[in-house]
Amino acid sequence: MADVTSADDRSAPPPPEPPVEPVAEVVGEPPARRGVAILLAVSALVAAVIGGRVAFRSFTATSLWQSSVREETKQAAAYVEQLRFVYTSEQPVAFALAEAKFRAEELAKVAPTVGGLDRIVIELEQAIQEYLSSDAIAESSPLFNDERYRSEVGFDIARRVADARNEDPDLVAIDPEKTRQAGNRASTHAIRLLATTIVIAFAFMFGTFAQGFPGRRQAFLTVGYALLGLGAVSAVVVEVVS
């Protein structure tokens, strides 16, 4: 029972090997699969790169818009305070001084028309008004005292406002709308850039179609690569133009 194999069995032909697929098919398939894989991978990669750039530009837009709000607040706070100072701190004092000055001048005109004690009273009143509008007191009011603000009617408050504003040119130079426009440009850039990923998504879609429908693989691949190229070129154009 040690060896049950007969001589006839040993001389029998070996069992047939399983059929081998034609060499042409084996060699021909991998490049097509690679084409699909490359299309899908490159599409995903390009979309990811564009997505990163979109995120950056989108953040820039948001940042600029928020800056424009802060600038608007800063600008408004500045002009409100400057107008408050000129019109409620300086102007009432200057007007009171102007009143004293006008009265002194008008009293000087009428004093010669009367005589005796009446004239003394008027001249006394005139002296008081002149003192009230004199340099000693008027020094506290640049609007009334400074030669630059003198005008035919008394003082030129507009010129004083201009000087108050120009004391801080940085505040005058604030332009929130300009900042917003810069934000708009960044936003439009981001949106247009992201829109190009729709074309790239179509390229990806044709890549999956190529894999799902081998009979039309070449046609789908051709369209897919064309769309991928179009999407990439569109992204570059948007990047350059925006």
């Binding site: 699969r33 608007e72 408004a76 107008l83 409620t88 009265r103 507009a158 201009a162 504003r165 990923t197």
Partner: protein, 223 residues
């Protein structure tokens, strides 16, 4: 994932073809919805920012324009009081013979001073001229009228409404995008399970999610 899916299932039946089609469509729908969301959210941010700026501008103009207006009013009152005093002296000069000359002279002086003060007071509320050196913004603030303020308030409200509209549109796009994500998860699961494991319902569910996502995304335009 899609590469492996396609690699493993190529040409192996209807289910796998549906898988390939739905994965491709998911990519396109996702990219479209992401673009819609970015557009809507950026518009929301812009309108929201402009609305906030208009609020600040509105309050700034209300405060800024009130100072010259109030200053002119108070100064005019002072000038008027001086004119009333002049009139009183004139009256006194006619009924008090002893003080006639003095009061008449003081009345003339006060009347002339009152006229000059009135003239000066009128310049305080004036909008500075372009050649005054005052920057255009502050000239515009000082010259703000009631109609301007009403217009700004209406504009601010309109911006806020627009911001809300785009915010809703963005929310719809995000929800639709979430549905697409669910659909791709189902497609991935179906690919892993393979055709023999009853993946057809998963692919069907993914297709349904995609259809709903597209529909929901389109409703964003109704906002």
């Amino acid at each position: 994932m899609e590469v492996e899916v396609a690699h493993g299932v190529e040409g192996r039946g209807k289910l796998q073809k549906w898988l390939a089609v739905l994965v491709g469509i998911s990519a396109v729908v996702a990219a479209s919805l992401a673009t819609l969301d970015l557009h809507s959210s950026k518009r929301y941010e812009d309108f929201s920012g402009r609305s906030t700026r208009l609020s600040v501008n509105l309050f700034g103009r209300i405060a800024g324009s009130s100072f010259p207006f109030t200053g002119e009013g108070i100064s005019s009152q002072i000038a008027l009081f001086r004119a009333i005093q002049a009139s009183s002296r004139e009256v006194v000069s006619t009924v008090e013979p002893e003080a006639e000359a003095l009061e008449a002279a003081l009345a003339r002086a006060d009347k002339a001073a009152a006229d000059r003060l009135t003239e000066l007071a009128a310049t305080i509320g004036d909008v500075p001229a372009p050649d005054s050196g005052v920057d255009p913004l502050v000239r515009s603030v000082i010259g703000t009228s009631e109609d301007d303020l009403r217009g700004l308030a209406e504009q601010q409200n309109r911006m806020l409404d627009e911001a809300t509209r785009y915010s809703n549109r963005s929310s719809r796009a995000i929800f639709a995008l979430s549905l697409v994500a669910l659909a791709t998860v189902l497609l991935g699961l179906a690919a892993v399970m393979g055709a023999r494991s009853g993946a057809a319902p998963l692919v069907g569910g993914a297709g349904a999610f995609l259809v709903i996502a597209i529909g929901w995304g389109l409703t964003a335009f109704l906002e």
